[in-house]
């Protein structure tokens, strides 16, 4: 049975019906008066919008599909229309933007400037760079291009907004890489000179050591000289490492012994309030790197973790695990190739980092440490090394909750020969060697060292003179050792000329530091061996042996 309705309910229903009737009348009146420009019709294909000006459709599609933000704005700043891209830029919905004022989304200072610009915006339009506030409270840098528009008798503007965030990020990266390059060039120049100096110290030092009687009290002293010079050599290589220009010999090596060595080395300097937890769960941990590169990564990360826990102590965690990035796995770094990686995780329970600090930690010379405590080069060096090893590094941190650094390094095949430090006998020989270096001190050293190894040597400081001598009797020499950086003819140019005269002459190219030549480039030119200065007697002897062996095998 139908419930009896109260008079109040009936009154409300009547009122509602009257309102609907009024609305219907108003709709008809609005359509008659041309106040409506779109009708929504429910049809078999769902809801369809029919505009009374179908001509706008192509422009609408164009605007909707543009990768730039587009909008129309009334003269008072009211946003009349915007496309989806613009809404995405502001991390807002279309409803949240259309109808709001431009003033609300632009910082007040910039709005005043922009308003003045719009006021003077001529037929040709106007443009400038501004910031727009996102719904989440952030800001997005944009390039705005505005053109005057007449909207049904009212003045307005058509605006195209381009998101500059990506561009600014790229510019920042470019500046960063230019800065790194400049430092690299500077370091490279210094390294070349230093390497020549160190080569002479090590070379002659080794000779002195060899000449001394076994019971001489000077032996430990000269060994100290050699050890200090070796440290100097390592330092030069480290300076070059961060700019990724280091010419290091990379061999397959296991991480575990290097990690243990680094911990042993640092343990003594860490206070007892810091506990070290080491976990090595990687079944395979062989990577292609030089030991000094791995040491630098570990030492820098561990030292930073220690610094973060200096005040209150804590736990320093080092974990080594295997990670397999499959081609379809969501790899977080676009630069990283799918494959097997060794993951080094260094965690601390220290002070953590603020987001603004975290953003800048890989920038050269950026440091939060006090004067004398840090150079701001530690993490840039780590970053440079990791990238040059085709790996990647990530960081997670929260203020007060510690930091976690993850380094992913590509695993290498373990069947390659592992780095061995076994002492080998220095090979000797009796062949005739042409030694060319523009540094008189080094030709003197080269001659003396090679003669001691049993070779007969012709040492020259002029590369053209060397070429002439070789041309006059190409079969006179069994091997040529040339420095790369020389006036007139560089080592590489000389090598090419020598090989055109005699294509089977073994050549060893030495370099202190040079951008113009790499081991690959040297090999492509037909050079047998490539050595980085300073060269020890043993390295030189082994290299000669290999170069001559290759020749005899032919």
């Amino acid at each position: 049975m139908e419930k009896r309705r109260t008079s109040q309910e009936l009154e409300a229903e009547l009122k509602e019906t009257k309102l609907r009737l009024e609305e219907a009348e108003e709709t008809l009146r609005a359509i008659q008066n041309n106040e409506v420009d779109a009708l929504i019709v429910d049809g078999p294909q769902g809801q369809q919008v029919f505009t009374l000006q179908g001509a706008e459709q192509p422009y609408r599609i164009l605007m909707e599909t543009m990768s730039e933000g587009t909008l129309t704005v009334a003269v008072d700043g009211t946003i009349l229309y915007c496309n989806q891209r613009f809404a995405e830029m502001l991390k807002n919905s279309l409803n949240g933007i259309i109808g709001s004022s431009f003033q609300e989304i632009m910082p007040s200072g910039e709005w005043q400037v922009f308003k003045a610009l719009l006021a003077e915006c001529g037929k040709k339009g106007c443009r400038g760079e501004y910031h727009l506030g996102t719904f989440e409270g952030g800001q997005v840098p944009v390039h705005i291009s505005a053109s005057p528009l007449r909207l049904q008798g009212q003045e307005g503007f058509c605006i195209v907004a381009t998101d500059l965030a990506k561009q600014l990020e790229l510019e920042q990266q470019l500046r960063q890489s230019q800065k790194m390059e400049a430092i690299g060039t500077l370091a490279g120049g210094i390294a070349h000179d230093f390497n020549n100096i160190l080569a002479a110290i090590i070379g002659f030092g080794e000779m002195v050591e060899e000449d001394l009687p076994p019971d001489s009290p000077s032996i430990p002293r000269i060994q100290r000289v050699l050890s200090a010079a070796s440290r100097g050599t390592e330092l030069v290589r480290q300076i070059l490492a961060f700019s990724r220009k280091a010419e290091l010999t990379r061999t397959p090596l296991s991480l575990a012994p290097l990690v243990k060595e680094a911990i042993q080395l640092l343990r003594a300097s860490l206070p007892t309030t810091i506990e070290i937890k080491l976990s090595m769960k990687a079944a395979r941990d062989t990577i292609l790197a030089s030991p000094s590169e791995v040491q630098q990564i570990l030492m820098n990360l561990i030292t930073n973790a220690f610094f973060a826990m200096k005040e209150r102590g804590g736990i320093l965690g080092i974990n080594i695990t295997n990670v397999d990035f499959k081609p379809d796995s969501p790899v977080f770094d676009a630069d990283i190739e799918p494959g097997e990686y060794v993951q080094i995780v260094v965690t601390d329970t220290g002070s953590g980092m603020q987001p603004d600090v975290m953003k800048r930690i890989f920038e050269p010379f950026f440091t939060t440490k006090g004067v004398g405590e840090g150079t701001g080069m530690g993490l840039p060096v780590v970053y440079g090394i990791v990238k040059s090893l085709h790996g990647t590094i990530t960081v997670e941190s929260e203020p007060g909750a510690g930091s976690t650094f993850r380094v992913f390094l590509p695993m290498t095949r373990t069947d390659e020969k592992l780095e061995s430090s076994e002492a080998q006998v220095t090979p000797k020989g009796s062949e005739h060697i042409l030694f060319v270096d523009d540094e008189a001190l080094l030709t003197e050293w080269g001659q003396a060292v090679l003669e001691r190894l049993g070779y007969s040597v012709t040492a020259l400081t002029d590369s053209t003179e060397a070429l002439n001598l070789f041309s006059s009797d190409p079969s006179r020499f069994d091997l040529v050792i040339a420095d790369q950086t020389m006036p007139k003819l560089t080592g590489l140019q000389l090598a090419r000329k020598l090989l055109t005269i005699r294509n089977n002459i073994p050549i060893i190219l030495c370099t202190g530091h040079s951008d113009s030549v790499s081991p690959e480039k040297a090999k492509a030119a037909g050079i047998k061996e490539f050595l980085i200065k300073p060269i020890t007697r043993k390295e030189l002897a082994e290299s000669i042996h290999r170069a001559l062996d290759k020749k005899t095998k032919k």
Binding site: K15, E16, L19, E23, E26, T27, R29, A30, I31, N33, N34, E35, V36, D37, A38, L39, I40, V41, D42, G46, Q47, V49, T51, L52, Q53, E56, R60, T72, A74, D76, T78, L80, Y81, Q84, L94, N95, G96, I98, G99, S101, L151, Q152, Q154, G156
Partner: protein, 112 residues
Amino acid sequence: MTKKTQDQVEVFEKTLTGSKDKKYVLRLYVAGATPRSTEAIVNIKKICEEYLKGRYELEVIDIYQQPVLAKGEQIIAAPTLVKKLPLPLRRFIGSMYDVDRILVGLDLKPKE
């Protein structure tokens, strides 16, 4: 003052007092950047700022981009303004150029 005039003043005052503190939730359905739609945005924005400053929420919805919303509110033409709050719900169709008509509809002005 005649009784009729006095009654009208009372109604006017009552309307003003009644709507003084009420928060308005409005939704304007537009069809992209078509002329009437842009007109409607400008007009309703002006009305809101003048008569409802600080106590209104205006949401502008493009029926092209969100047709589902339009269906839910039985919108048959654009531009259409929907007064969702205060109740009763009211719809206004057109470019909102007739300010008096809108003010009456929004209970911001007594009906003559």
